[in-house]
């Protein structure tokens, strides 16, 4: 394919050249185990601790509060399972939401099977948790609240500071899955009163297979992976030094121009939203218009199905994603789109476009031009559209 326009940055991103060059020495000449006593190993150890220190500084945490993991899913699993185990004497109730990533939802369901009770909060039609619902769900035996920072499908940003305040007033631990928000929104764990926070490197031009969990000092969390003394005995296994170095470098690059980049992305995002709303009939913007990730666009187009749209976009060199059932491997469309109240048939026709720093206005124009043709073509093929048009003409 001559031309590729990548608009699926919420799924994953490319490792940037600077990140790759920062990582490379740690595969070869600087391969030493950070556990080695010899100077060579100690150099790896130093690089590891520098990375930890830098990562900690990006969220206003202390270095010893950062635990490197294999990514967002592991961090989420660890936060939930370890809190449940460590605090079960205090209570067995956990509060989360219906729009979490499966790394949280399926872990919560697993905990339910282990005898924990989980409340899954509804969200409003723009995909935001209602604080009153949260307050009403809190019980004497609630030990943990886990609410994602920003949603991966529809980009809605949650009232994290307010949730943190409520949680701490009640003496409840607060975890947030910040996989989509980190490097998109400035984060301070103290201001937000967050106790645990999950991040994954490959969402911000870092490598796949590495992430971290921030755990506030003083929390009694057990290890998820048992073995050696790495990560202060809380996450065993020889450290993924190249990955961690790569994550720190990617974080540095992303934070260096966070405000300018996200401003540029938001402008491009709003331009894309505007063109779609003005030029494609029977569409609906999913998610909140203001409280929205700078790089997220999510629309439902009536009378058509998402997978067909994605294949046709792919044929034009455009990479996007959808919440349709056909793209999830099940018959149900995205749980997030259902949670914001979309009927099944409209949820099937959703399209997510997530921007990155390399996207241009020219690319966005090309995408909208092609999208218009694709939607028209699919609608002309759709019995639902046929019925709709006939009803309109009656």
């Amino acid at each position: 394919m001559e031309k590729q326009i990548y608009l699926d940055h919420a799924a994953t991103t490319a490792v940037s050249p600077q990140v790759l060059s920062a990582m490379l020495p740690y595969f070869t000449e600087q391969f030493g185990n950070a556990g080695g006593i010899y100077g060579f190993g100690q150099k790896s150890k130093q690089a590891l601790e520098d990375a930890r220190g830098y990562i900690a500084s990006t969220i206003g945490a202390k270095a010893e509060e950062i635990y490197f993991t294999a990514g967002g899913t592991e961090s989420d699993n660890w936060a939930l399972k370890a809190t449940a185990t460590a605090y079960q004497k205090k209570g067995k109730h956990i509060i989360t939401t219906k729009i979490e990533h499966h790394a949280i939802l399926h872990t919560a369901q697993y905990l339910e099977k282990q005898g924990f009770e989980v409340t899954y909060l509804d969200v409003d039609e723009s995909g935001i948790v209602r604080l009153d619902d949260l307050k009403n769900a809190i019980r004497e035996d609630t030990i943990l609240i886990s609410v994602m920072f920003a949603n991966n499908e529809i980009g809605s940003i949650q009232p994290i500071a307010e949730i943190g305040k409520i949680a701490h007033e009640k003496g409840i631990l607060f975890h947030t899955d910040a996989v989509q928000a980190y490097t998109q929104i400035p984060i301070s764990v103290d201001e937000l009163q967050v106790d645990m926070l999950s991040v994954s490197a490959h969402k911000f031009n870092g490598p796949k297979g590495v992430g971290f969990l921030y755990i506030r000092k003083g929390l009694k969390l057990q290890s998820l992976i048992h073995g050696g003394q790495q990560e202060r005995g809380r996450r065993a296994g020889t450290e993924n030094i190249p990955g961690i170095i790569g994550m720190a470098e990617a974080s540095r690059l992303a934070h260096a121009d966070l405000l300018e980049r996200t401003k540029m992305e938001s402008e491009l995002r709003d331009y894309l939203i505007g063109r779609i709303e003005n030029e494609i009939p029977y569409c609906r913007l999913n998610g909140d218009r203001e409280k929205r990730l700078p790089n997220n666009v999510n629309f439902s187009f009536r009378f058509i199905e998402g997978e067909s749209m994605l294949i046709m976009l792919d044929m034009k060199g455009i990479c996007a994603s959808s919440g349709s059932a056909c793209t999830s491997g099940s018959l149900d469309p995205s749980h997030v789109l259902l949670a914001i109240g979309l009927p099944h048939e409209i949820a099937h026709g959703s399209l997510r476009l997530t921007l990155g720093r390399e996207n241009t206005k020219e690319e966005i124009d090309y995408v909208v031009d092609e999208l218009k043709k694709i939607i028209e073509r699919l609608r002309n093929m759709s019995p639902l559209y046929e019925d709709f048009v006939k009803q309109q003409s009656v």
Partner: protein, 145 residues
């Protein structure tokens, strides 16, 4: 994930459209599950399917199976059209991924529904044709992912 034939029939679907005053029209599937197929048949006095058109709301496989089904029944007698099973549609497309097999069932069901409509309109009975289920997805297990 799709065979070349599926991609061909998705990109260049055959017989998309409507037939005015069709001899029989059948609509199956449900929007909730993301697939609806509508099949139009034009049947001559000798019971031969002169023309067949379709409209489909659904994924790539749903469009491709509808397109292939119309090709397979065109020019056939009613009895021959009844032999166009989901397996025949799948084979003609060089197979479908396991999660998409239900699309081929929908195509078979759409042909049956259109033939049923034709039989009802003409007050005849078509041997071997049972009243089609309005919605084949209802009986399907929803997979847990």
């Amino acid at each position: 994930m799709y065979s070349e034939k599926v991609m061909d029939h998705f990109q260049n679907p055959r017989n998309v459209g409507e037939i005015e005053n069709a001899s029989g029209v059948g609509t199956v599937g449900n929007a909730k599950c993301g697939d609806i197929m509508r099949m139009y048949l034009d049947i001559d006095d000798n019971g031969v399917i002169r023309d067949c058109k379709f409209k489909t709301f659904g994924c790539g496989a749903a469009v491709a199976t509808s397109s292939m089904a119309t090709e397979l029944v065109k020019g056939k007698t009613i009895q021959e059209a009844l032999q166009v099973t989901n397996k025949a549609v799948m084979e003609a497309l060089d197979g479908l991924p396991p999660v998409k097999v239900h699309c081929s069932l929908l195509a078979e069901e759409a042909i049956h529904a259109a033939l049923w409509d034709y039989a009802e309109k003409n007050g005849i009975t078509i041997e071997g044709l049972e009243k089609p289920k309005a919605d084949i997805n209802e009986e399907e297990e929803h997979e847990q992912y």
